[in-house]
């Protein structure tokens, strides 16, 4: 059995960042884009906690709590904006939101 080291956590976090980024860039459903953004923020949290553990410093954990709080606020505002849009346009597909362009 190999112990789980900081590098493992970093790899997990990098994978989550990649999945989140691909999700934001390729998915059409806005709810799924929101979920992908949450994934990126959680990748950051895993990084912060792993570093906090490795460095024996508590700053990272406090930072992670701030990030979690921020993610909640962002999700609330994001869903609110989405509902306002849905009332007017009846769609949650990103490519159908195309009034403004060149």
């Amino acid at each position: 059995m190999h112990p789980i080291t900081t590098v493992h956590y970093l790899a997990l976090s990098a994978a989550l960042l990649l999945i989140g980024t691909v999700g934001v860039l390729t998915r059409r459903n806005i709810v799924i884009i929101l979920m992908s953004i949450e994934l990126i923020l959680n990748a950051v949290n895993i990084n912060l906690i792993a570093f906090s553990h490795a460095l024996r410093s508590v700053d990272g954990q406090i930072f992670a709590i701030f990030v979690i709080t921020d993610a909640v606020a962002e999700a609330a505002v994001g869903l609110g904006i989405l509902i306002a849009l849905f009332r007017n346009k009846e769609t949650v597909q990103a490519d159908e939101v195309d009034l403004l362009k060149w």
Binding site: L17, G20, V24, I30, I33, L34, I37, I40, L41, A43, V44, N47, L48, A50, F51, A54, L55, S57, D59, G60, I62, F63, F66, V67, D70, A73, E74, V77, G78, G80, I81, L82, A84, L85, R87, N88, K89, A94, V97, D98, L99, L100, K101, W102
Partner: protein
């Protein structure tokens, strides 16, 4: 650290502007049921009062500059300059909002509360000296701005604007945070001064790791200041948002984002400047070119000004590329001049666009010089300043930036930047020609007379633009003294 440090009265004084703005914002929401029926203007008056108090508090806090809350905040000349700037932008946003909100039957209390929260976040950003605080300020400012962009919630364009702003803004925050986490992991600290010390110290972390972190943070910040190649959201968001909000977005959050850009890259990342310089160089050139050439093709004035604001972000990045204190001072001066002329120009658009924001095209400005000479004269000052004609703030802004760039031997960037500003003159002049040399359009004929708030919102920034253009040394000296950031 002993707990007594956290209730130090000096710390509270240095944090006073943020406290005032937050308390005032909350007060507005609490008072909503009481004042709502009596006067819809009361909230505007109250928030102006709050902003004025915060302005005084910012200046007062500067009488005794220094760190607060164990080094988390740094109230220095740089922070005070930008605090005054973002609060000033807030005041200039509220003045045209009175008429705008009444015209669209919109709720006033929430609008002003959100505006105050956003400004509180920006004040926190510009005075933060720690990455956690910077992140917190950035998010307080951004989340409130996302809502403001979609404030007219029955308007499909506003919905779309808010959605795009939100999705791309939070995506950018994710990247910024990922970079911050790497900085924390490699240096063990989030304090900007300590990061600088760690990067220059004997046990400097792996440059690859720090480089990746700096690149990720650069991506996040470039999104926030709408610098190319991360500028695509800006025209859509600026066009769809309510016009006073667009004025605010293009000046306040942008100036604050540039402040943290300068602070992070000129203090913490100064030891690795050779690494990030080419990155900023490319982004500066790309922003100027994309912004100016795309603006040539626009017929919607809000969109035109949005592209011009991308180009102006490019000019400020030129100042950052110079990597010198002179460059920082030039960037500060430019952001102040830019805030005046841009907020003023958007106030004119807000005045002319009418109910439902119908009149926003270049053609709608036809004959404005005949019908409303004062409005047209003010817009002329703003446009001349955006071009960079002497005797306006925009001229000295560009002059100092390119001077700083030349002193740092950025000859090519200077030449290309100057060519760019020549291109820019075309689309601003087109608007001027439209105002003075065409028969009045429907929009110009039907425009309401200027209200008191709107006149103030036009005359104050016009005066500011002229003062910066005739007595630039007043502001430049302060900027020069404050640009030597705490390293």
């Amino acid at each position: 650290m002993p707990v007594s440090n956290f209730v130090n009265p000096a710390d509270l004084v240095r944090f006073l502007p943020e406290i005032i703005l937050t308390v005032m914002g909350t007060l507005l929401m609490v008072l909503d049921p009481v004042l709502h029926k009596r006067s819809s203007y009361a909230f505007g008056h109250l928030s102006l009062l709050g902003l004025a108090a915060a302005l005084v508090a910012s200046v007062y806090a500067f009488r005794d500059p220094g760190p607060a809350f164990g080094g988390m905040l740094m109230v220095d000349g740089f922070a005070t300059f930008f605090r005054v700037l973002v609060i000033g932008v807030g005041i200039l946003t509220i003045l045209p909002s009175y008429r705008f909100l009444a015209r669209h039957d919109a709720e006033t209390s929430e609008y002003h509360a959100l505006l105050l929260y956003s400004i509180a976040g920006q004040c926190l950003m510009v005075s933060a000296n720690e990455l956690i605080m910077i992140f917190l300020g950035l998010e307080i400012s951004s989340i409130a701005s996302y809502i403001l962009a979609g404030y007219l919630r029955d308007d499909k364009r506003a919905n779309e604007s808010a959605l795009k702003y939100f999705l791309l803004g939070s995506f950018a925050t994710g990247f910024f945070l990922y970079g911050v986490a790497f900085i924390y992991g490699s240096t063990g600290t989030v304090n900007l001064t300590s990061v600088h010390a760690a990067l220059t110290g004997p046990n400097a972390p792996s440059p690859v790791f720090v480089g990746v972190a700096a690149a990720l943070m650069f991506v996040g910040l470039a999104f926030k200041v709408s610098a190319a190649p991360f500028q695509v959201w800006a025209p859509d968001v600026y066009q769809g948002a309510p016009t006073p909000v667009t004025a605010f977005l293009s000046a306040g959050p942008k100036a604050a984002a540039f402040a943290i850009f300068l602070r992070i890259f000129m203090t913490s990342f100064q030891p690795i400047a050779n690494g990030w310089e080419p990155l900023v160089w490319g982004s500066a050139l790309l922003s100027m070119t994309i912004g100016n050439f795309a603006a040539l093709l626009q017929s919607n004035v809000k969109r035109l000004l949005a592209y011009s604001s991308i180009a102006h972000a490019g000019y400020v990045l030129v100042a950052l590329t110079a990597r010198s204190d002179v460059g920082t001072a030039a960037a500060m001066f430019y952001l102040a001049a830019y805030a005046f002329m841009n907020v003023g120009a958007f106030a004119v658009v807000s005045h002319l666009s009418g109910r439902g924001e119908r009149y926003q095209n270049v053609d709608d400005f036809a004959g404005l010089g005949q019908k409303q000479p004062l409005t047209a004269a003010m817009l002329t000052i703003f446009l001349l300043s955006l071009i960079g004609v002497p005797l306006t703030g925009g001229f000295f802004g560009k002059f100092y930036i390119f001077k700083a760039a030349l002193e740092s031997h950025l000859v090519w960037l200077t030449v290309l930047g100057l060519l760019n500003s020549a291109v820019a003159a075309y689309y601003y002049l087109r608007l001027l020609v439209m105002m003075y040399m065409h028969e009045p359009s429907e929009a110009a004929t039907n425009a309401e007379p200027l209200s008191f708030g709107l006149s103030a919102a036009l005359i104050l920034p016009a005066l500011g633009t002229l003062v910066l253009g005739i007595f630039p040394s007043w502001v430049l000296e302060f900027a020069g003294r404050s640009s030597n950031l705490v390293k």
